[in-house]
Symmetry: C2
Subunit: 379 residues, 2 copies
Amino acid sequence: MISGERFLAIYRITGSEKEAWAKAQDLCLEETVEFPEELVPPGMIREHVFGHIEEFTPYQNNQSYRVVISFAAETAAQELTQLLNVLFGNISLKPGFCLEHLKLPETLLKNFRGPRFGRDGLREWLGVPERPLLFTALKPMGLSAEELADLAYKLALGGIDIIKDDHGLTNQVFAPFAKRAALCAKAVEKANRETGQNCIYVANVTAPATEVLARARLAKEAGARGLMAAPALIGWDTLRQLADDDRLALPIFSHPAFLGSFVTSRENGIGHAALFGQITRLAGADATIYPNFGGRFSFSSAECAQIAQGTAVPMGHLKPIFPCPGGGMSLDRVPAMLESYGAEVIFLIGGGLFKAGPDIVQNCRYFRELAENWVKPQR
Amino acid sequence: MISGERFLAIYRITGSEKEAWAKAQDLCLEETVEFPEELVPPGMIREHVFGHIEEFTPYQNNQSYRVVISFAAETAAQELTQLLNVLFGNISLKPGFCLEHLKLPETLLKNFRGPRFGRDGLREWLGVPERPLLFTALKPMGLSAEELADLAYKLALGGIDIIKDDHGLTNQVFAPFAKRAALCAKAVEKANRETGQNCIYVANVTAPATEVLARARLAKEAGARGLMAAPALIGWDTLRQLADDDRLALPIFSHPAFLGSFVTSRENGIGHAALFGQITRLAGADATIYPNFGGRFSFSSAECAQIAQGTAVPMGHLKPIFPCPGGGMSLDRVPAMLESYGAEVIFLIGGGLFKAGPDIVQNCRYFRELAENWVKPQR
């Protein structure tokens, strides 16, 4: 019944050596049996179901410890929901635990298809083999579906690769989902016919549980060529369901709304690379949106670099995915972002694209030029 | 198109007066239009779609401010997912914002059925009109379905009102869901026939997106008379879907696994009352499980009192629900808990019930006695 295969989770545990060790021991029980150790007789449960401390080493300051815990593959029940529960379920409620990294054996990984497209697949889907990709959002909320479609047309005309609904656009009376998706997809197709380019419209399907798949199907029928959703709002496994649906078979963009509390504290939560990289890949997203350093959010450049690493760190058959730094970005920051991320990135610029000048089509063309010019010297 | 009806969210924003004011202004845009203010022309969007600062008052220390923001009802699109997104979507990614309280007008509340049973309904379901309710969990993970059922029988025999799967029991090979639910429901029914009491078995349906409803139906058919799920793992709106399903029509118990990061920081996240009380009620749970003060978790007694308040604070037609303090509780703490919570509480004792003595049936009887004895002097 027990394969003996175990998966590893690496935590940063805060405290003195003694405190951190006690916390690590507590975690081994809390995340598995949640039961007094002394009441568990010798045998299978104690030997296999308990988490095991595999490594325990101080970080430089000796005020936190890097702790590697192993869990029996069977505890995760081949489910993303239960895997997350073992990794960070009850322990999320206790202070001083940060889940920094996962190492999953093939026994476990085989339960997850992971990203359908990944970086290479998305580049093929877009017909852009090398340069950084350009991404923007339709906004502000309050515009009509016609106004958003008109905007989508201009953004596509200017050479943007990916145009998404703003994550706050769901099914408001201002621009109801079905109408918006139909008009925006059509507007982008029209621009593509004129430019000969291959821009895609990505519909936001963050929605009530009974609506997510229905909206995704409707969007696909209307001509959307990608889907976005916020896993903290719809559930991580609902994101996976979208990604795995063979009738949809569309690239999936993960949005970080409602997810911030996992990373706003240094001592508690889930590390940037694990959350926006590894877990997002396990859930099947092809691209992970997060707030870039230097914008209006507070992620550091080191944290953003960790995310980029997490999008590509080896995870068996799981494809690398695109980091999509965004959030208060402006065009004059593109060169610095190219320095940080290289070409394997999707630049998400929303408001900054509108601020750059009165002609939005021209602004897009300039954005495109920045991305295209950069690649050439690297060849 | 705009009703003029607005809902209120109350935040604690950290910073000096100037910083907190700037953060409040930022929130008004970030959670709605996510667009540069200067680019929005006068008119409907500016007047209605923007969040508005309604009140701004310092907390005692002048290092944080109580800020009341109003949002147009239409921004929430009659969806729980989008309501949460407006309340705490992108702002979750910025430091210094804590969502403390919601005030929703009937325009918005009418979209949510809320708890089907609530406190009164659950008391009727259990046939216990007055005394505190007794709740425990089947564990540890690794036991077989037969062993868990045997345990369920003993716990029911001892007079427990509600027996749930441990939240880590999903569909592991040790005790697969279908078999476990069937055997445990049957074992509890058997005990009820012997005692004449009315104990219920509550199945944990925290599961992959495609499995949640299927397991819930299967559990109901097998005789489970309640369902538990962790909204942070399945999605808040999936919890609502379970609660609203008229074919299920079972009491819903919300579990806090994976939810801790929202409350581990004092400055960021969602306040205890709003998260475990108000939002849990909006999602339709009849009872909210959370770690009690003085146990192995770190919630303070003030935070637990806030949760209890949040379970009953007026919210239009939404029924009050039961607080279920648990987590490292022991029988000798029941009197102190009775002092804190009064009779309108469900005591969740897991491991502590096993630790109290070698005979689990006797331990349950003692637990029941503590609860029954308390009520009489209050009459």
